[in-house]
């Protein structure tokens, strides 16, 4: 059945409920809600959450926004925590101590921000993926440590103004480029890795989430989740920012199935990177006279990474055809 946003929302109750305390205009809640909606209705899930904005805003004792079972332990170990839950499930089912009724399944989904995933949690994530646990790890990437007040992370793009890479009179923001975590996860040879964004009708995100959750083995989703406080855009512009991230190819949408790349969104007209940078206060200094080189350098990097992706798509599909 073809994807239809209205039908998905009407027919599948939200498993991530209202009342949470995430900011207006935050990119993470729509991502979490849509990914949880991708679960089949009769199936159960256990969600593991790394410490971060999402955790401190959605599970404040004695309340929870999650209708499925949920566990938070610490910042750097959502991967390992989730792997323990999954190992318990495997063990209990194998021993007949736990039974699934009417063919329903239990799925394991971990959520972490870029801090808990790219940085402090990368070891735990890498270990869990390498061990082959049947789980989906979702990184909601807002490009800095937003929960502690907008400090730079390895996911922060070059030149961004953060509270630990402030755009000063000598050093113009973060001087290092963004780590490409999605490629690191591809290098784990997982059965399914994808990069997505909550765009227009959520089709891309929904379909990738469903594939990730229902592909057996360890799978990884990297989803850009803008932060109005950290990025400095008007809260009502969230969806606009998302679209610009995809249309400028700053955040390409693609999936890698058993090593074969497929770019799921190729903008009809690739927009210049200024379109994405200009509405965000974190890049404001780049538009000052004399700083044109920064925009140029940013554009070059986006172009280089986009071309690499196109090459990978071509190469892996050619290899596939040759088999």
């Amino acid at each position: 059945m073809a994807y239809n946003l209205k039908e998905v929302v009407a027919n599948k109750p939200s498993r991530f409920t209202a009342g949470h305390r995430m900011c207006a205009g935050c990119g993470a809640p729509p991502v979490a809600r849509m990914i949880m909606r991708a679960l089949h209705e009769n199936d159960h899930a256990v969600v593991a959450n790394a410490t971060g904005c999402m955790e401190v805003s959605t599970c404040i004792y004695p309340y929870t926004s999650w209708t499925d079972s949920y566990i938070h332990t610490a910042f750097e170990c959502a991967g390992a925590t989730c792997s323990g839950v999954e190992a318990a499930y495997k063990s209990l089912v194998k021993q007949g101590k736990l039974k699934e009724e009417d063919g329903s399944k239990t799925k394991f989904i971990a959520f972490g921000g870029d801090g808990g995933t790219y940085d402090i949690g990368i070891q735990s994530l890498s270990g869990a993926m390498e061990r082959g646990h049947d789980m989906t790890y979702v990184c909601y990437d807002n490009g800095a440590y937003m929960n502690t007040g907008i400090q730079r992370s390895s996911a922060t793009p070059r030149f961004a103004d953060t509270t630990t890479s402030p755009a000063g009179s000598v050093i113009p923001g973060k001087m290092q480029s963004r780590k490409d975590l999605t490629q690191i996860m591809v290098a784990h040879h997982l059965p399914y890795v994808a990069q997505s964004i909550a765009m227009t009708n959520f089709k891309d995100l929904y379909e990738k989430a469903e594939k990730a959750i229902y592909t057996e083995g360890p799978t990884f989703l990297n989803v850009l989740a803008p932060c109005p406080r950290g990025w400095g855009y008007a809260t009502e512009d969230l969806m606009k920012i998302n679209k610009l991230a995809a249309d400028t190819c700053y955040w390409p949408l693609f999936e890698v199935v058993d090593g074969v790349y497929h770019i799921t969104y190729k903008p009809a007209k690739k927009l210049p990177i200024e379109e994405f940078l200009r509405p965000q206060k974190r890049f404001k200094h780049m538009f000052k006279p004399g700083n044109e080189w920064m925009i140029k350098a940013f554009q070059e990097e986006v172009d280089k990474r986009w071309q690499e992706l196109l090459d990978l798509e071509e190469m892996t599909n050619k290899n596939k055809g040759g088999e």
Binding site: I71, T73, C77, G84, A87, S91, E101, G127
Partner: protein
């Protein structure tokens, strides 16, 4: 009939784990506890247990995975030493505050730095306030017996706390001694089935574990942990009674060795107790009324019982295989003297830091401690309560 064997402390712990047959074991190798996950993974490979063995990439992940597994409704176990336990430190608090009865074998080793792989108790002492029940073991038999008793204590509804069983690295873990094992079926029956009240995989009742706990709640939750630790005292003794009925081997909060009529005594934990017993026997043969209190249950700390057991002494030496580096006494000394103070017990007490980084502990040195105690009794004075033995002169 029990089974007579000859096993190292690590082998004994691994066999106890095999008999317990936990649902999940997540572990990472570190000397001197490495053999435990090694032996155990062989049991897994040969289908002798039902366990999912998670060969994690670090101790932090070992404890994280144990927390995930136990919260999911499984019995989870692990083993570690020294820096491995230090790396788990953050997660130890999360395990206990989430009230997850995970069981860990700690093969005691010096915490870096500098790096040293040999035995002392600095690893255990570094986590003494983490909310774990801590049992110490003199030898392979006690390491085994404590593990067999562990789940009955930890999983009791009035307790629900994680538990670690300590034994001395190399001294116990790698020495082969005689041991009496319990038959598999009897262990299975004794340990029983784990029936958690709330767990993640209960489809009828989804739960949230590890929420954000703000000012209005954390205090009470910590109080509840403290109460559970107090409750553990009663449960530890009840389980010991049941265990005695099964095996004939008697356990309490501590072992009193020739203590009831003693005038001077040593308080210590783990393998040093065995060496001390030999010294006590020698001194007794010479007419010296020496005794020993070997502490088994370090957390919860049996305040009233320890103070009472020492109350008749003329002098006591408390031996610490870890230093607090505070110039004011090491952990066991502080705990024992604090217990005596609050119970109105006034016995001259002296602290010895010894055996650091695997420094050998000899009968001669322990005899020296008793000599010092006799001197204290004679003069009625404790010149310096913070002492060392086995340290080169001047610490150089």
């Amino acid at each position: 009939m029990s089974i007579r064997e000859r096993l190292s402390g690590n082998e004994a712990s691994a066999i106890a784990m095999k008999q317990i047959n936990p649902d999940v074991v997540a572990a990472f190798p570190i000397t001197p506890s490495t053999e435990i996950p090694q032996y155990f993974s062989t049991f897994v490979s040969n289908g002798q247990v039902d366990t999912e063995f998670v060969a994690v990439e670090s101790e932090h992940s070992a404890m994280s995975a144990c927390i995930g597994a136990e919260a999911a409704g499984a019995r989870a176990m692990t083993a570690t030493s020294a820096n491995g336990l230090s790396f788990m430190w953050e997660m130890l608090y999360i395990a206990s505050s989430s009230r997850l009865p995970i069981v860990l074998t700690l093969v005691n080793r010096a915490v870096s730095g500098p790096l040293n792989i040999h035995n002392d108790h600095s690893d255990a002492m570094g986590v003494r306030d983490a909310g774990w029940i801590m049992l110490f073991s003199e030898n392979n038999q006690e390491a085994y017996d404590n593990l067999i008793m562990a789940h009955q204590i930890a999983e009791h509804k009035d307790v629900m706390l994680p538990l670690m069983v300590c034994q001395d690295g190399f001294i116990t873990s790698h020495s082969i001694e005689n041991i009496e094992l319990i038959e598999d079926e009897k262990v299975k029956e004794f340990v029983g089935k784990y029936k958690p009240e709330h767990y993640l995989l209960n489809h009828d009742e989804p739960i949230a574990v590890g929420p954000m706990d703000v000012q209005a709640y954390l205090f009470e939750h910590k109080y509840q942990q403290a109460e559970a630790m107090k409750n553990a005292k009663k449960v530890i003794l009840e389980v010991a009674d049941k265990f005695e009925k099964l095996t004939g081997r008697k356990y309490g909060f501590f072992e009193e060795y020739k203590l009831d009529d003693a005038e001077i005594a040593i308080v210590c934990m783990n393998s040093t107790a065995g060496t001390t017993k030999a010294v006590v026997d020698d001194l007794r043969a010479k007419g010296v009324k020496a005794g020993l209190l070997k502490l088994r249950v370090y957390r919860p700390f049996p305040v009233e019982e320890v103070a009472k057991a020492l109350s008749h002494l003329k002098a006591v030496a408390i031996l610490d295989k870890a230093d607090s580096l505070n110039g004011a006494g090491a952990p066991l000394f502080t705990d024992v003297t604090s217990a005596m103070y609050t119970q109105n017990v006034h016995v001259p007490a002296v602290n010895y830091i010894y055996g650091i980084g695997g420094r050998d502990t000899t009968t001669k040195e322990l005899a020296g401690v008793f000599e010092d105690l006799q001197e204290i009794v004679k003069t009625g004075k404790v010149d310096n309560p913070y002492r060392y033995f086995g340290l080169r002169k001047g610490g150089k």
